[in-house]
């Protein structure tokens, strides 16, 4: 039986508590999202076993098929070994030392609690814990429907989705935009049809773990011929210490549709590593197009990257139909360790896969990120632009696979990986894998490594621009090719993030 622990951090006297927060924040000035929210939460006891998996499923009132999916994945996960091939050094993770479920208690809605637990009536703002609402407000994430924002947001706090805005407007167009738990209840056929088709439960160690203990996530379905008029977005927030977040996102673009989806994330400053293992599955049908953008700003840890987020993510999309297009854009600045390879399976003829990435590492961060482009269909094409920036004592690795199968007649790939080193204590690495099995394919790969030239800095400083601003300018110029792919506000946020993350790295 699982013991459910209710933690209430109010027991601490407020003064000492604020003092502590201030101390931690002082140490982590570079991470402005580092505050944490104190609210009554319901957190499972640490540990992972079959009854925990069952308890998570029971908490979410899930149907039998979902529980079966989880148990199957859990069983398989137990036979697997934690992968350590990435170019990052970390101690093996003790999976028993994490809690696998944490959700704010809904104190203000005691009578409707049962209803809320099955994930249905979460959308009304008055049911949101005021502390959680405050947290999102200070992150600048709109969780109420009344805003003018031209964006629909799904806000996820630890293991549950708190609110999803603009759903009614979207529903009029036939677009489903809701949390994953709701989708399991409301659209079981769709979920059953697509879950595990792109990332099977046995795909890799972290995907298996995610399939077993998936917390919440976003579910998007865009019906045939619909062009989604606003950007859809999800904001992930890890709050509780020693919990893992395992979101599962499924995005389906039916024939001839278009959607642009954004993702942001942050976590409070903690002194122990937190675990984040997400799975994202994207299915793009004939003539449809999906643009998937991520600004990843998980807490990177203190100056030695202690306590940062361990980010192990499996993102994969399939261009199922003809002329479909999937584009991944990511700006990665956070996390102590990043292990992430957004991939495209180009199955439909003439389908297009794109990957634009900026990965910045500072202090002792370690990032091993890149993409996989699997060409199956005829005349498929893919573009990879990766910009890696390393500063401090960090290691930044691009690892990418371009695979042309014999059936991919006339396939085309262009890859460009540029690395920039800032300081002489960091590392920048490029590990491309190129496998060509069709002679008509044209595959090109280029990689360069450079640093900010002294003459460039001199030129700027001579014109009265401070060293810090000059570096920021040069770095932004270096990343421009990728940032122009991000939606406007996001691009701005990414630029600012870069500037903050780079602070103090030169001097």
């Amino acid at each position: 039986m699982v013991r459910i622990v209710l933690t209430s951090e109010f027991s601490m006297t407020q003064t000492t508590q604020y003092q502590e927060i201030n101390d931690i924040l002082q140490k982590n000035q570079h991470y402005k999202e580092g505050f944490f929210t104190t609210t009554a939460v319901e957190t499972f006891a640490k540990g992972l076993n079959e009854s925990v998996v069952r308890a998570i499923s029971a908490k979410k009132h899930e149907p039998q098929w979902m529980l079966d999916f989880r148990l199957k994945a859990f069983k398989h996960w137990q036979t697997m070994i934690e992968p350590h091939w990435a170019k990052a050094e970390y101690e093996p993770i003790d999976y028993q030392d994490y809690s696998y479920y944490s959700a704010p208690e809904c104190g203000s809605c005691s009578e409707s609690c049962d209803k809320a637990l099955d994930g249905k009536d979460h959308t009304q703002a008055n049911q949101i814990d005021p502390e959680v609402a405050k947290a999102f407000a200070s992150l600048g994430v709109p969780i109420n429907d009344d805003g003018e924002a031209n964006i629909a947001v799904d806000a996820i706090f630890d293991s549950v989705s708190i609110s999803t805005t603009k759903r009614d407007d979207l529903a009029k167009l036939g677009i489903i935009f809701c949390s994953f738990s709701e989708a399991v209840h409301d659209y079981p056929e769709l979920v059953q049809q697509y879950i595990g088709t792109v990332v099977p439960h046995h795909d890799n160690f972290f995907a298996a773990l995610n399939s077993a203990v998936a917390s919440d996530g976003t579910f998007v379905y865009v019906p045939p011929g619909v062009r989604c008029p606003i950007d859809l977005s999800t904001y992930f927030r890890i709050n509780e210490a020693k919990t893992g977040q395992f979101e599962r996102t499924i995005l389906i673009a039916d024939k001839g549709s278009y959607v642009s989806y954004l993702e942001g994330c942050s976590a409070p400053v903690r002194d122990t590593y937190q675990l984040h293992a997400a799975v994202v599955e994207v299915i793009v049908h004939e003539d449809a197009e999906v643009k998937y953008s991520t600004v990843q700003n998980w807490y990177p840890g203190d100056d030695d990257c202690q306590g940062g987020i361990l980010n192990f993510v499996t993102k994969r999309g399939i261009c199922e139909g003809k002329n479909s297009k999937l584009s991944w854009t990511q700006a990665e600045t956070g996390s102590a360790i990043t292990w992430k390879y957004p991939s495209c399976i180009l199955k439909g003829d003439n389908s297009i896969g794109e990957f634009y990435s900026v990965a910045l590492t500072n202090r002792r961060q370690q990032a091993d990120t890149g993409t996989k482009m699997i060409h199956i269909g005829k005349n498929t094409s893919s573009t990879i632009i990766s910009k890696g920036l390393s500063a401090g004592r960090s290691d930044n690795t691009y690892r990418g696979l371009v695979k042309i199968l014999p059936s991919a007649e006339g396939a085309r790939n262009f890859t460009q990986c540029d690395s920039m080193l800032i300081g002489d204590q960091c590392g920048a690495h490029t590990f491309p894998y190129i496998e060509v099995e069709n002679p008509t394919a044209q595959v090109e790969h280029e990689a360069t490594t450079s640093r900010i030239g002294e003459d460039q800095l001199f030129y700027c400083q001579q014109r009265g621009i401070s060293e810090q601003d000059a570096i920021s300018m040069i770095v932004n110029g270096f990343c421009k090719e990728v940032f122009k792919e991000l939606p406007l506000e996001f691009a701005q946020e990414a630029e600012e993030l870069l500037a903050i993350s780079l602070e103090g790295s030169v001097g």
């Binding site: 690495h429 190129i434 002679p439």
Partner: protein, 443 residues
């Protein structure tokens, strides 16, 4: 719960059989050996091999190199078969060389040039002689090159028969190239060769090595380890021509240490073998070192050709250049794996690695992995890789000038494949190699 201990490597029954077969071979070899130090050396290698075993597809470095077929044949070591002058003659190049011949892995005095009248400062011995008469074991074997990290290096330490030890004294410049010809004559025979080349400061040498088979029927296994030391201001030009028949197997490992201001240039030409793997491990330990590693390979039929380089820049002002070209026809599989590693201390490094692959048939396949691992910030490093087929425009250009389609294709392929040879400074050597490549291309 999941166990986090290192997974135990599982070997297939075929691999286990092959491993115990080679262990038996080394036991027999040890039993007949009198040198205590050499026995200890082989025993150590044998113990290490028992733990290491043959690599599998699950090993990152062997992902693209299948060993199944190789493991199914057990290659014996039986000693030298009889060959005549007529057999050796066709392998001689059309220019003046100092010729050393190895038959089935053993140095052959009969076919080699007289070693008693060498120029001053140059010493050439077979490994057997070096072991018997000189300081023996210590001089030849005791140094740290990391050979044991490679399974085939360990296998070589266990079983090596013979090889050549070339030493150049300071400022000794040898104009005449030295050519080592390794001839396979027996079926299912293992030729395990261990070479050592040492250039003292200011010395210069051109070293040519060719691997050939006596006929097209036999299937033999060449396993070569060459250790090279290039001292301050020294210059070594090396060419390895792998022209075995299409059923044999070739594994070549070269470990190179370079000192200050030295220059090392190596060219690998891959033509033969059903399975071949040529690997350079190059360490540039001091300042102002220059190196070039290039290769040109043409594979057809069912051939699998693997070329790999590992280049470590460890000091300031290093410069390395690489150009690797692979042409693949029929069902051939080509593999390129390159790594440039720049240490924190290696500022101002200039490293460049290019890999270009041409696919001539629907069934050919290429796997390329050009890698950079960089820890210094003031460096200029780049790599490029491109794979594709001959462009129609090029063919059209030539056909518009009255050249028929087949000739046009041949011309374009030839021009593509011969490019890495351009940096070979000795014209006759370059022509000789170009001719070998063209002969196979036009066959």
């Amino acid at each position: 719960m999941t166990t986090l201990s290192k997974p135990i490597k599982k070997h297939s029954p075929v691999a286990q059989n092959a491993m115990s077969f080679y262990q038996q071979q080394v036991e027999a070899l040890i039993a007949s050996e009198s040198d205590v130090a050499l026995v200890a050396f082989r025993q150590q290698a044998s113990q290490h091999f028992a733990e290491q075993g043959f690599p599998t597809r699950r090993d990152e470095d062997w992902k693209y190199t299948p060993l199944n077929a190789f493991l199914q044949t057990h290659y014996h070591r039986t000693g030298v078969a009889h060959v005549s002058d007529v057999d050796i003659k066709p392998f001689l190049p059309p220019f003046d060389v100092m010729h050393l011949v190895f038959v089935d892995g053993y140095f052959s005095e009969r076919f080699s040039d007289d070693l008693s009248e060498l120029p001053d400062g140059l010493s050439i011995e077979s490994v057997k002689d070096a072991l018997d008469f000189k300081q023996g074991y210590t001089a030849f074997l005791s140094h740290e090159m990391g050979i044991e990290k490679e399974a085939f290096g360990t296998l070589n330490s266990m079983l090596f028969d013979d090889g050549v030890v070339i030493q150049l004294e300071p400022h000794c410049v040898v104009e005449r190239p030295i050519l080592c010809t390794y001839v396979q004559t027996q079926n299912e025979h293992a030729n395990t060769i261990r070479n050592r080349v040492t250039l003292a400061h200011g010395a210069q040498l051109t070293l040519l090595q060719q691997h050939v088979s006596l006929n097209n029927e036999l299937n033999a296994f060449d396993n070569v380890v060459t250790e090279i030391n290039v001292a301050e201001n020294a210059l070594l030009n090396q060419v390895v021509l792998q022209a075995l028949n299409s059923s044999s197997v070739y594994f070549g490992l070269q470990f190179v240490d370079q000192a200050k201001n030295s220059m090392f240039r190596t060219h690998y030409i891959g033509l033969g073998s059903s399975l071949s793997r040529h690997q350079n491990v190059l360490r540039m330990t001091e300042e102002h070192i220059e190196s070039e590693q290039s290769s040109a390979c043409f594979a057809n039929g069912q051939q699998i050709m693997d070329t790999r380089t590992h280049t470590e820049h460890q000091a300031w002002w290093g410069k390395s250049r690489q150009l690797h070209k692979l042409v693949l026809d029929d069902h051939a599989v080509g593999v390129f794996n390159g790594m440039i590693k720049v240490a924190r201390e290696a500022q101002k490094t200039d490293g460049q690695m290019d890999n270009k692959n041409l696919l001539l048939s629907d069934k050919a396949k290429v796997d390329s992995k050009p890698q950079l691992e960089i820890y210094a910030d003031d460096v200029k490093c780049s790599h490029g890789s491109a794979s594709g087929q001959i462009s129609d425009e090029q063919i059209f250009y030539l056909r518009a000038r009255g050249i028929n389609a087949d000739d046009a294709r041949r011309l374009v392929t030839q021009a593509f494949l011969l490019e890495p040879l351009e940096s070979i400074s000795l014209t006759p050597v370059r022509h000789w190699l170009a001719e070998k490549l063209m002969h196979k291309l036009n066959a």
